[in-house]
């Protein structure tokens, strides 16, 4: 087993709101090995995007550590952090709002180079921009177009090119295909996988779509209301989901096969509020196996078989 490239330890991010503390990310720990992909899955508001942004310090963490090659990047000075950003990049969900409408494709991609390499000649910059455009499959003739003239798939390629031009090692992909049609989605997923192989990238792939995550990830972490519910490799989690929430999530995916009649677990009610959450397991209000102890203490992540699960059912409780 190789050294993890990125290790997140007890990461917390609270937002103060009028009605109390919003626990967006609450004690999340995981690690990603070099060249691998960790899929982070969860429903809207579970804190998966916040996790990605806190790792890149787009939001400052409330508590915890993010170790990048063993170095805690949350303690870096702003100057050191700017240097660090060369290695850590992000691709955003919405290819519409993540591109400045007033900049041409070339200047969008070039921007990070201008920030970084002040000494670089414009010919050299142009060469790099065109090279990266080739790499992500953007036609060179589009260099002087504006984002609104392009379709969603091409815009997302711009987002990817912008992230990759600094030759990062680690990329956070925040729902990169959610806003796209299925056919385009497939093209972008393939592109991301090819790029990973070619450039030896490490991905944190954030998505609400389990089938997409399964396709691209080596390991999958399921998040519910700011906490990790389960962490396992992508086969185990689908073959043998342990956490009741993972089970429900898996069974909720509509299967494109009219003959399949899945034994569906329909969750009752809605996600509880992340503001001042009650002690105990966050999922217990919707869990069909909730036990008295679920209300008392919050289950820790414990290894169970090939997975790591945070559920009292597996921590000595009866199944």
């Amino acid at each position: 087993m190789s050294e993890p490239l990125l290790e997140v330890r007890h990461l917390k991010k609270y937002f103060p709101t009028k009605s109390g503390m919003l626990h967006a990310v609450d004690d999340v720990s995981f690690s990603i090995e070099e060249g691998k992909t960790l899929g982070l899955v969860g429903e809207s508001g579970c804190g998966k995007s916040t996790t990605g942004r806190v790792i890149l310090r787009l939001h400052e963490a409330t508590d915890g550590e993010v170790l990048y090659r063993g170095k805690n990047i949350l303690e870096l000075s702003p100057r050191e952090m700017r240097e660090m950003r060369r290695k850590m990049q992000i691709v955003f969900q919405d290819p519409y709002s993540s591109l400045n409408p007033r900049m041409s494709v070339k200047s969008l991609i070039e921007e990070s180079l201008l920030q970084r390499s002040r000494g670089m000649s414009s010919a050299e910059r142009e060469r790099r921009v065109l090279a990266i455009m080739d790499l992500v499959g953007l036609e060179r003739r589009l260099a002087h177009s504006y984002p609104h003239e392009l379709d969603g798939g091409r815009r997302q390629r711009i987002g990817i090119a912008r992230a990759l031009i600094l030759e990062p090692e680690f990329v956070v992909l925040d729902e990169p295909v959610s806003a796209l049609d299925v056919c385009v989605q497939a093209q972008i997923l393939n592109l991301l996988m090819d790029l990973q192989k070619e450039l030896k990238l490490t991905y944190l792939f954030i998505s609400h779509n389990l089938s997409v995550v399964k396709h691209i990830s080596d390991q999958i972490a399921v998040m519910y209301l700011g906490k990790l519910a389960e962490l396992a490799d992508h086969e185990t989690i689908f073959r043998d989901p342990k956490h009741p929430y993972t089970k429900a999530l898996l069974s909720a995916i509509p299967i494109p096969d009219p003959t399949a009649h899945p034994d569906r677990i329909i969750l009752e009610g809605d996600v509880a509020s992340p503001i001042n959450p009650a002690p105990g397991c966050r999922f217990r209000t919707r869990c069909r196996w909730a036990m008295p102890e679920c209300a008392e203490s919050c289950p820790e992540l414990m290894p169970n078989g090939n997975s790591i699960v945070a559920c009292h059912l597996y921590n000595g409780g009866q199944k």
Binding site: R86, I90, N100, R102, S112, Q115, E149, A163
Partner: protein, 287 residues
């Protein structure tokens, strides 16, 4: 660097190409050009000097010698309107530039940084806003003393809060967009983000407000001149001329008509030009 210049040029050219498709905006631009030329070549255009009195020919209706007529001292109104364009345009544009630059900067900083910076700046703006703009201009002009420069400063300061609010509101909206976050993620400095990503995207409301602002500045300056805090009497200024002529509106309405028309045409052309510019600057409308 050469590259950059080329790109800027093409951006400006595209903007103008779109602007020229809008006939009304072209009209506005044309009128404005004529006004600017009038101001520059006032000496050549005006048949008389602006302060040349001819009491024998006072109160003359428009006629061959005086196409706009003469005022109560027999001064040629046409010449005064022509010379007045110098003062009015200067006051309008410089006062608005002061408020756009200062207000825009304050608003951008307040909106971008938020928190106590925002509170401090915006509460200060609220204090300024709680005083009626004209009254504020009067007090500033009274404190600084009469004169053209002070007039422009007073008018400029009075409308700073308006721009600060507008810019802050659009910055607040734009900074939440992902492309700003994307710029942060590649390590762009705050100032560069403000300059390159945020401000260009809130140009539209500023331009529209600024064109209206020129109108407001011209009128405020007129008001100040009227109560003796602005332009000294013999200097022609459209607002002041209008105020003076008010007394004679019943019998010699042409005395109000021409400076009034001058103000109205200037403001109308500024407004249509502002609208046209806003559309031309919006890359989403590009086809």
């Amino acid at each position: 660097m050469k590259q950059k210049k080329e790109k800027r040029y093409s951006f400006a050219r595209e903007t103008f190409a779109r602007l020229f498709k809008n006939k009304l905006a072209v009209f506005g631009l044309f009128v404005l050009c004529v006004l600017v030329l009038t101001a520059i070549f006032a000496d050549q255009i005006a048949p008389y000097s602006y302060d040349e009195m001819d009491l024998l020919n006072a109160y003359q209706f428009p006629c061959k010698g005086h196409i706009f007529g003469t005022d109560e001292f027999g001064r040629d109104i046409f010449s005064r309107v022509v010379y007045g364009s110098r003062i009015s345009l200067k006051v309008g544009f410089i006062a608005v530039s002061i408020s756009v630059v200062v207000g825009g900067l304050l608003g951008a900083v307040a909106g971008y940084y938020g928190g106590w910076t925002d509170n401090l700046i915006m509460r200060a703006m609220d204090v300024i806003m709680s005083i009626p703009a004209t009254l504020l201009a009067i007090s500033i002009a009274a404190a600084l003393g009469a004169g053209l420069t002070n007039l422009m400063i007073a008018t400029g300061i009075a409308s700073i809060p308006t721009y600060a609010r507008i810019v802050r509101a659009s910055v607040l909206g734009i900074k939440e967009q992902e492309f700003v976050e994307a710029a942060k993620a590649v390590g762009t400095r705050d100032f560069t983000i403000l300059r390159k990503h945020i401000l260009p995207n809130c140009l539209a409301p500023i331009i529209v407000q600024a064109t209206l602002g020129v109108a407001f500045a011209i009128l405020t300056a007129a008001g100040l001149s009227f109560i003796g805090l602005g332009i000294e009497p013999p200097t022609p200024e459209w607002g002041a001329m209008l105020s003076n002529a008010r007394t004679y509106i019943r019998d010699y309405s042409y005395m109000c008509l021409f400076p009034g028309l001058a103000i109205a045409i200037t403001i109308f052309s500024l407004n249509v030009l502002g609208d046209g510019l806003r559309d031309a600057l919006d890359p989403k409308l590009r086809q």
